[in-house]
Amino acid sequence: MSNLHSLTHFWPELILTITVLAAIISDLIYRREESFKVAWWVLGGLVLTLFAIQIGGSTVSDLFMGTIALDPFSEFFKVLVLISTIAVVLMSFNSNELKDYRMGEYYSVLAIMAIGLFLMASAIDVLMVYLALEVVSIMSFFLAGYLKKNPHSNEASLKYVIYGAFSSGIMLYGLSILFGLTGTTKFIGMQTAIANLGPDSNLALILSAVFILAGFGYKISAVPFHFWTPDVYEGSPTTITAYLSVAPKAAGFAMMIRFFNQVFGDSTALVSETWSTINGIPWPQLMGVLAAVTMTVGNMVAIQQDSVKRMLAYSSIAHAGYMMMALPLMSEAGVYGIMIYLLMYLFMNLGAFFVVIYVQGKFGGEDFDNFDGLGWKMPFVGVVMTLFMFSLTGLPPTAGFIGKFYLFAAVIKAGTQYYWLAIVGALNSVVSLYYYIRVVKHMFLKGERSESVEMPASSLVTILLLAMALPTFILGWYFAPVVTWISESLVIFQGM
């Protein structure tokens, strides 16, 4: 679609851009103490964007001369990004860590990051892929280091910058090899060109795919590109940790699915047999091994953690591993499973991090010991956290179970050659039970029972925790509408 016509379909991003500008200008008006009010502008913009997406309808087309795609698939991820951004903005009001800082820039940069995530989910041109990735990365470097007076936050930011620069450099090199082979930056054009390549190009193709995988793997924190994750997640403000563990991961998966499906895949359908045979390299097996290693490493290291925040950081690596199980299938059911899992994961993971933020503000720490007796002192927070932990493990009747169910079903349905992957995944879920239940143990079995019962002082915290807990619970047994919505969202732009 031409540039001018594209604008009429570009309302969500336009509204977000205006939101960013409004946030920056409104920040000039507010004094330091009331700089948190910028959040209301950003929130308003985010809600408007959500409406704009709903009104937009389900046109399937390319926008801006084929740089981004407009399809239900990207809309699904945009909604995920918006929900998590809104939740994180609201939770930032209650963050103790952020109290000493001017908040205007925090919210405006969060909004810019949301635009970057939108573009990541819809990019169909490698130039756009790279640019969107950089927007998201640079904004997250800043947000990770927002606590300037905290050395851990500084460390997180610096490590993130170094890893980010390195992996995006490697990815760019891979993209340039791909460009050199095909002579185009558009996904669809690349696919046609790759189909016509001779066997001499195989080595270059393999190398470029590996290099590009480094960039994607870094964004979804897959092993062996995960080394930044624990330190960055631990040092960042916990609100940002929650955000990083959900939104960029979702957008990263969207980008990865789209890229591998369209560039190395078959244009006619989501199911792509050609991908496995494109150069005689067993890609599915390779990706499967990567998934298995990712979840195992994430789980094994998560067990050893003493800080709940760090434990959740490692467990988010494991969750990326579960979702990666469905990548080598490259089937509709696999992508479907990933999308369902991401939605469920959004609620339970954000919820778990919100409890950590609350506990941190209340007891000044995020170690397992800080959770001692929490279930008795504050039954509400304790029960909600228990729910999140059960859901993250994947126990019924929680959302996590449904997510895992669809994921494993897709893997098993794909054929006997993937059974081993499902078994590794199931064993890993059992392992994860240990450290998730450890939180519950500390909340209910450790520490003294207190007689008085407390509710969170702020009603906003209560509402937010409920807003995360209710879907986590309800989606565990009533998930038909959500599943229908996701299956309708499974329309990927495949070229005109």
């Binding site: 000493d100 756009m128 640079i138 007076k149």
Partner: protein
Amino acid sequence: MVDIVFWIIVGITIGSAFMVVQSKSLLYSAYALLFTFVGVTGLYVFLWADFLAVVQIVVYVGGILVLIIFGIMLTNKITSVNISHASVQKGIGGVVVLGIIGVLGYMVFITPWNQLAATEPEQTSATIGRLLMMDYLLPFEVASLLLLGALIAATTLSRKEN
């Protein structure tokens, strides 16, 4: 003749890039970077990318590098402090690097690259301008958003908190 010039430029680029990472003094590293940038400019000229070559000089040498050198010189004592590049396991690292160079070099030579006809383009700046305003309008606009965000981030991080 052209080949000799080309290899000289390649030598300058790679040699000075090696100096950047090997030099013990930060200031020398920055100066070595100057030659890397100029070398890359030469490579652009060989690709008939005249506009890009000029931009490379103006932006990287004239802007970024001067900024880096100012940054180093204006930072207290940074020139006198011996910033040691604590490279550990140089042996293994060297072997790995040589291996990667070998694989990549082999890949470059055996691959049939998608080549354009070797004719001198009449104008590059006009083509680039048209591409930026037509085919790549969105990336162009998004880049401005990226810069806006980076500016906000940089000023916020460097601001004195009181």
